[in-house]
């Protein structure tokens, strides 16, 4: 106790100084608005900083719960979005190709069966004649990433079969997006589920790896410019004037789920003009 008093005595000047300064600051902060605001603001920002740091640290501890929560949220949102798609099942969404003035209707559909491993692969969609898929027509089918295939003739009431792009007899007119040159897309024996081959790109064409290959829109089954894939490899065919171009497909056929059936409202008009006889799943492009 005595030591304490001695200590206080020894530092009494400093103590007086501190007490008076504290008094000054109390007066300062309680009487001057500017200082009051600054004081509270900076205290708030200090507290804010501390709390933010705390959050930054504790956040890691709750990552697991947060992940679970986000997954729940995700599935809930998916239900809303795709549930809605189910509600509007059978509703064709209108889209207009502004340049060519051709109208396209899109029918959302889901893949219920799908193969990729065979030479002739088919996809089954959960839409049928009842949804307005004409069993007599060959309709284009696209996925979120790009072209998927054509509907096969003779769909049932609730289901439709699609000739996948991964089908040995699949054939489609394709366009080199950069130059506009046309070629013919096929799925050949050397192709796997990630690739296809484009023929009849002339040798003078300036092709680079990564160039986009899109639909031509020539027969009106697909709008022009639907993505097919990108150039992954190309070689000259000896003795001809053409390239053989390998295309990396945009669509991953193994994970395909949501697709759209495309209907061209004016296709009958076009067809009646062209009067072309078509074999079963072999539209002549």
């Amino acid at each position: 106790m005595q030591n304490l008093i001695a200590l206080l005595k020894r530092y009494s000047t400093f103590l007086y100084f501190i007490i008076l300064q504290i008094l000054c600051f109390i007066l300062l902060i309680s009487n001057n608005n500017f200082h009051k605001t600054k004081y509270w603001n900076s205290s708030n920002s200090v507290i804010g900083w501390i709390q933010e740091t705390q959050t930054n640290v504790t956040e890691y501890l709750y990552l697991q719960q947060e992940n679970t929560r986000l997954l729940d949220e995700n599935s809930r949102l998916k239900e809303i979005v795709f549930g809605k798609q189910d509600v509007t099942k059978g509703d064709w969404l209108k889209m207009i190709d502004k340049v060519r003035q051709v109208k396209y209707d899109y029918l959302p559909a889901r893949v219920v069966a799908n193969t990729t491993q065979f030479k002739k692969n088919y996809i089954t969609l959960d839409v049928g004649t009842i949804d307005g898929v004409n069993p007599e027509e060959l309709l284009g089918v696209v996925g979120p990433e790009g072209v998927v295939g054509f509907t096969k003739r003779g769909g049932s009431k609730h289901y439709t079969q699609v000739v996948s792009l991964l089908h040995s007899k699949f054939i489609l007119s394709a366009v080199h997006a950069k130059s506009g040159q046309q070629g013919i897309l096929k799925w050949e024996s050397g192709d796997n589920r990630f690739t296809a081959t484009v023929h009849e790109f002339p040798k003078y064409l300036d092709i680079e790896l990564g160039d986009l290959i899109v639909t031509s829109g020539n027969t009106g089954r697909f709008p022009r410019g639907e993505l097919i894939g990108e150039v992954s490899n190309f070689e000259e065919i000896p003795g001809t004037n053409f390239y053989k171009v390998k295309v990396k497909l945009a669509t991953d056929f193994n994970s395909l789920y949501h697709v759209s059936v495309i209907r061209n409202t004016e296709i009958l008009e076009i067809q009646s003009l062209e009067q072309v006889a078509e074999p079963d799943f072999k539209p002549i492009q």
């Binding site: 009494s12 400093f14 007086y16 100084f17 300064q21 008094l23 000054c24 109390i26 007066l27 009487n31």
Partner: protein, 175 residues
Amino acid sequence: MRNILIHSLRFVFLVLLQTLVLHNIDLGDYSPYFNSFLYILFILMLPYDIPSWLILILSFMIGLCVDLFLGTIGMHASACVLLAFLRPTIMKMLASRDEYEFRNQPNIYIMGFSWFLYYSFFAALVHHLWFYMIEDFRLIELHIIFLKALGSALFTTVLIIASQYLMYRAKKENG
């Protein structure tokens, strides 16, 4: 007793001079950089052997008085308390303990011109620097604060030296 009276009168006079006259000096564009706080002369001229608690309280009082007039409650008081706290340190810096013996009144005649010049300049610098730091309160533009403190300290020092000559010449003529 006489000393107490003189110091009290000086207290009142300096507070009035500071708040009624010096506060209204307008130097145009340079005004923010040259403010004079002559009233710290009161603290500077307190006797050397004054108890530390007394000088702290007196400084607090004169600062608070100026604050009351200028509406800056706490700012001048805080700067004055700091100055009073550091005054012994400044004195120790400028001369050894012996030199203050029998020279109780720190003024320009007893302590000499150069001593008094440094004394008032360092004191003013401490006071003004602290004052402008509290005034700004955010300490973001420290260089501006320092410039202001330096300019004002020079101004204050000039006024303090001038006042010394005025005060003691008048005294001589009267006495």
